[in-house]
Symmetry: C2
Subunit: 407 residues, 2 copies
């Protein structure tokens, strides 16, 4: 049973740092990076292998002489859990100690329920996955929790979450530690984790400055600056859904008028679709609604769009333009090299993307858009769960001299 997060002495920290850069390393790599004597390298490698943090793998390529024995992280050190909680759904993944998912489950969720209930259900789901995998509670090294609201990252609690105000300051870490006492727990905002997922497993790999924009029921942003998540002073950086696009626009659930979210996200798109039907502007949407018990969904507007329905196209383009206008300001301010778009509404495809790109190009400074790329995230809906697993692995090994979190 390993106590987590795993505190490393300075020699171990040096080896882990090299390994995180190179993924597979030889003793010579450690020698080159550390400047230690051969004897010290030998001794430290022996010690870290004995602790089970690393394992020896297939031989490397010989540079003349014996083939070097290569080492990498020990995938069997234990398991990590990622929880990706959205407003209406939850996904839980169980992965090995290098992040390969071995079991996963998703189901509807409702964050308007009390936090105990929702996180209690998450606990049941984790226990179910452990059971399926045939492993024990004390093999869980760490748990990451992504939540749809602003997070005070160092304390691991939600702060003034608009969707679920009652969850404020709910002790997420200690809640999970009751059932999983050997695991450390990290909590972050869901869109920050999408950005992290994109940066580790997507096209943002190695990209220093980028934005991830989630468009769904709400609109949120994740920010990377100088290769790191920028969480801001209160953990609420990236909250672009409540930027004003029209002072005379409809009232948003935040109380202000004309917020981007109130005008361009899922519910606004549905509202515009219903209005179009009422105005007799789309026979196709009308038929779709009738054959769906009077209910209009974003997917139906998306599908009408693909069939060339004029009203649906107009609605999607208007939404894309408003999003693009806001992003244009942020591009001037932040000068990212990439913007990745994800979330449910991103399924709208090229019409939405083209409208966004056009608005950004029209209103941003030429220098800021010269190398700017705006694309859908290719990872798709898995980006959040990948991100939360990456976060857990980031904090699994901690330098004992500078621990990031007081867990």
């Amino acid at each position: 049973m390993i106590k987590t997060p795993i505190l490393l002495n300075s020699a171990e920290a040096e080896i882990i740092r090299v390994l995180k850069k190179k993924h597979v390393i030889s003793r010579t790599d450690i020698l080159d990076f550390s400047g230690w004597s051969k004897a010290k390298v030998s001794q430290e490698v022996r010690s870290i292998l004995d602790k089970g943090y690393l394992v020896e793998v297939e031989d490397g390529v010989s540079q003349g002489g014996r083939k070097p024995r290569m080492m990498r992280f020990n995938a069997n050190l234990g398991y990590v859990v990622g929880i990706d909680l959205g407003a209406t759904s939850v996904e839980v993944a169980l992965a090995d100690a290098v992040g390969t998912i071995v079991q996963r489950v998703a189901e509807p969720a409702d964050v308007h329920q009390p936090a105990e209930e929702v996180f209690g259900r998450c606990t049941e789901l984790i226990l179910g996955l452990l059971d399926l995998q045939g492993c024990q509670i004390d093999q869980v090294l760490g748990i990451g929790v992504g939540v749809p609201g602003p997070v005070d990252f160092s304390r691991g609690v939600l702060v003034a979450p608009p969707l679920m105000p009652d969850w404020e300051n709910f002790p997420i870490r200690s809640f999970f530690k009751k059932t999983f006492p050997t695991a450390f727990v990290v909590v972050d905002n869901d869109v920050n984790l999408m950005a992290l997922g994109e940066s580790r497993y997507g096209e943002a790999l190695g990209v220093d400055h980028f934005l991830f924009v989630k468009i769904g029921t709400g609109i949120g942003g994740g920010i990377f600056s100088n290769g790191k998540i920028h969480r801001g002073n209160n953990g609420c950086a990236g909250d672009i859904g409540h930027i004003c696009v029209d002072k005379n626009g409809p009232i948003c659930r935040c109380g202000n008028r004309g917020c981007l979210e109130a005008m361009a996200a899922g519910p606004a798109i549905i509202q515009a679709g219903l209005q179009a039907v009422q105005n007799g502007e789309s026979e196709l949407l009308q038929q779709m609604i009738e054959s769906n018990e009077g209910v209009l969904t974003p997917e139906m507007i998306s599908s009408a769009c693909r069939e060339g329905d004029e009203a649906a196209l107009r609605i999607i383009r208007a939404s894309g333009q408003m999003i693009g206008d806001v992003l244009a300001s942020l591009v001037n301010f932040f000068n990212p090299s990439h913007i990745f778009i994800g979330g449910g509404i991103s399924n709208f495809g090229n019409h939405l993307l083209v409208a966004i790109r056009r608005a950004v190009l029209r209103r941003s400074l030429p220098l800021a858009t010269t190398h700017l790329q705006i694309n859908f995230s290719r990872i798709g809906s898995d980006v959040g769960i990948y991100g939360v697993l990456a976060l857990v692995l980031d904090y699994l090994f901690v330098d004992e001299e500078k621990p990031f979190l007081s867990v």
Copy 2:
């Protein structure tokens, strides 16, 4: 004669790192931070003192036993130069090797002139200061240049500067190295440097996430994220002057309509003042213009404001509100803990500040404004020159294993 930037071996780099944190250190401090043996500390300290990077100063406080001999940076190692170039003025400062200004000079400048001429004049000003100080060209260790435009920091050149398009890619570094061959040269955007100055010598000391907003002939921003300047992908991050505030507004020099700069900066304020006079809305401004040969300046509007002139007040409030509306979006996006306001127009005082604060509070999310402070920079007009000197000192000592700049 010292070759700059000064490349440090790993032991020297460790000592300099400790010194940058603590400013004055003892051998015991180095022992504690490095984990070296007493003998190695002794040897490394001797070596770095011999090279003249550090000097021994007054004794420290005894912890029992002999008083420890304290060390700090050697102010007499040489001189550094800071150039703060604005659209219409230039300031040059000569400082010792710890940044204490010993000579300075300011004069009008015009960036519409060719780069050779303007930087040639800067060279003359530096030579004049060296002469006044009685020191030699080869005593100049480093030169920092702040310019009013987007900078590719790693290359040290302006990229698509709207004010002086002809300066694009002008080789600022090699230009100065012709006259000052022993000095390294670093170039950055003027507002980034104001932010850096505020972070080292002002109220942003130790603040991780903040914005510096310069309001003058134009409007620009400097961004700190996680304690570091965020320059963005093309070095143009912080360009908030061209964020759209009114799609139907006047045409900006960038070609778009209704940019913040075109509606709320110095020239727009003067234009509004002239309009008020023309409409017979301000006798005071009319008198002021008449007694100033028909010319209206921002200072005159500021002074009318202080005397309670209604038209002047309205103009300043409108400007503050537009700036505040843009900042509200950026506060939602970036979640800074502080916004510092500087530049010529910031002299307008409390009326401007109150209007900015009110607009931000009205439109930002409550969580993002709970701890947000918006104030004028207390350093005042020196913040740019302080910043550029801080930048030079940051790059004076460079770890030979990871040099930041290829100078």
